[in-house]
């Protein structure tokens, strides 16, 4: 296993405390707790619509929970959003690739928005798309786009990786590369949270079944009604 390009010295810890989520006026999950320490991995699974993506967006600070808190190193992330954001990578369903921009430019741009310089070549190399570094996004196949999106993880360092169905569209080779990267990242002191429906080798990962936090139908109705006047679905 090659050494990770980034090493994280200070230990880190991510905690979710009594998290609840309401979307479109409907309670999705409630009373969700977990603790994840440096080097750890958390695998989110559960049937469609149980809130995996919503949880990841809450953890990324993109969606506001209906209740509960997320703590990063013991402090609520809402109190230090900017600092927290710069320590995480979120790879969601959207690849954030422009048809007119090449992967190299894209990685450079995103690293710049984080105030850093991209390790673009190394990152593309690690995802097996070094040959496409200068091919505009419009010429890429679905899996190639996904690989470029994942290359963001390597192009600039971040302790916490939040990955929403990262294996979608990936072939076996790319999946293996991703697994290796996650392993190295954890070995270097990083944290990984992945939502996926497919098999993914994440040795020693904790598993969280979102279906277990589903509110009962009755509760859901009550919460939904109550939430109508509160701040369901607020963001950022």
């Amino acid at each position: 296993m090659a050494a990770s390009p980034h090493q994280f010295d200070h230990p880190a810890r991510l905690e979710a405390r009594a998290l609840g989520c309401v979307r479109g006026g409907r309670a999705v999950f409630q009373a969700l707790d977990f603790v994840l320490d440096a080097g750890g991995a958390l695998l989110l699974h559960g049937p469609n619509g149980t809130g995996k993506s919503s949880l990841l967006r809450i953890l990324a600070g993109l969606l506001r929970p209906a209740g509960g808190r997320v703590l990063w190193n013991g402090a609520a992330i809402r109190d230090a959003v900017d600092d927290y954001c710069s320590q995480l990578h979120y790879v969601g369903h959207l690849d954030a690739l422009k048809p007119l921009m090449t992967p190299r430019e894209t990685l450079g741009f995103f690293a710049a928005t984080r105030g850093e310089v991209a390790l673009a070549d190394e990152a593309l190399e690690r995802l097996g798309v070094a040959g496409l570094a200068d091919t505009p996004g419009r010429y890429l196949s679905a899996g190639q786009k996904r690989r470029v999106a994942l290359a963001r993880l390597i192009a600039s360092p971040a302790k916490l990786w939040l990955l929403d169905e990262p294996t979608v569209m990936l072939d076996l080779d790319a999946t293996a590369r991703l697994e290796a990267l996650m392993g190295e990242h954890r070995a270097a002191g990083g944290l990984v949270i992945v939502a996926t429906h497919t098999a993914l080798a994440l040795p020693g990962a904790a598993r969280l079944d979102l279906a277990q936090f589903r509110p009962t139908a009755a509760r859901r109705a009550i919460d939904g009604a109550g939430a109508a006047l509160s701040f369901e679905d607020e963001t950022w």
């Binding site: 009594a18 609840g20 309401v22 479109g24 006026g25 409907r26 309670a27 409630q30 009373a31 209906a66 209740g67 509960g68 808190r69 809402r78 509110p215 139908a217 509760r219 859901r220 109705a221 919460d223 939904g224 009604a225 109550g226 939430a227 109508a228 006047l229 509160s230 701040f231 369901e232 679905d233 607020e234």
Partner: protein, 258 residues
């Protein structure tokens, strides 16, 4: 999971705001609204009827304009309400953004159509009046122009509100707009004033202000009170139905989940 009150807001909110938060409780607001409802309904009905009777039958015809002037009894109170309601809209927007007061969202949402209607009534009566008085339906006079723009501001507010499927998001967006708009209103007024006076002098004969006779003042005042009562009435009805509609919607969504 009961919806926890927004933490940051509670921490930062001044005491008064927390007091207001008490009304955010839908049940309490519903009780209040129920109490207000009959009063405003009765006041609106009586004053409007009295105003119309006084205005149409009792007030003497104007010595210059004959009976056409009677349109003033609708025209002027409508203009006042149009402006008052915009102020309320902006205050509600501020309350929604700064104190995150949920009821403020509903008040803004309920007020805007009423304000827009009054603006429209003012424009309509004004232009109906303009035809006999000025010989044209419309002139690009400063007051008329700024009223037209106010109408657009209302339409924008309503449109933005309804463009979001999620009512809370729509409310926040509209609140931002209302606040931005309030900065702008004086500017519009001022600039439009300036625009007209700098260009060619008004080609339209200006109407002399009728010296207000008490018999004209009374219906004017009654209509004004009636319009305000009507606004309060609409507000309570719409806020209540909004709360109920959201409950129903959420119940339906919750059921359709499984």
């Amino acid at each position: 999971m009961t919806p926890t009150p927004d933490e940051a807001a509670t921490k930062a909110a001044p005491r008064r705001a927390r007091g207001l938060h008490a009304f955010a409780n839908p049940a309490r607001f519903m009780r209040l609204a129920r109490a207000i409802f009959p009063f405003s309904a009765v006041i609106a009905a009586t004053t409007l009827i009295a105003g119309v009777v006084l205005g149409l039958a009792v007030a003497p015809p104007d010595y210059q304009q004959g009976d056409a002037y009677r349109i003033i009894f609708v025209h002027v109170p409508a203009a006042s309400l149009a402006m008052i309601i915009y102020v309320i809209l902006a205050l509600a927007g501020a309350a929604a953004l700064i104190w995150k007061h949920p009821l403020a969202d509903l008040i803004g949402r309920a007020s805007a159509p009423v304000g827009a209607s009054f603006t429209f009534i003012n424009l309509l009566t004004g232009s109906l009046w303009g035809q006999p008085m000025w010989g044209t339906w419309w002139v690009w006079d400063t007051r008329l122009t700024s009223m037209l723009i106010l109408f657009f501001v209302y339409l924008g507010y309503i449109a933005l509100h309804s463009a979001f499927e999620d009512p809370t998001k729509g409310a926040r967006a509209a609140a931002i707009l209302a606040l931005v708009g309030v900065v702008n209103l004086p500017i519009i007024h001022f600039s439009v004033d300036w625009w007209n006076t700098l260009h060619q002098p008004a080609t339209i004969m200006k109407l002399d202000r009728p010296s207000i006779d008490p018999s004209m003042m009374a219906p004017l005042f009654l209509m004004f009170v009636g319009f305000i009562a009507y606004y309060v009435l609409m507000l309570t009805i719409r806020v209540r139905s909004d709360i109920i509609a959201r409950r129903i919607r959420n119940l339906r969504l919750a059921q359709s989940a499984n």
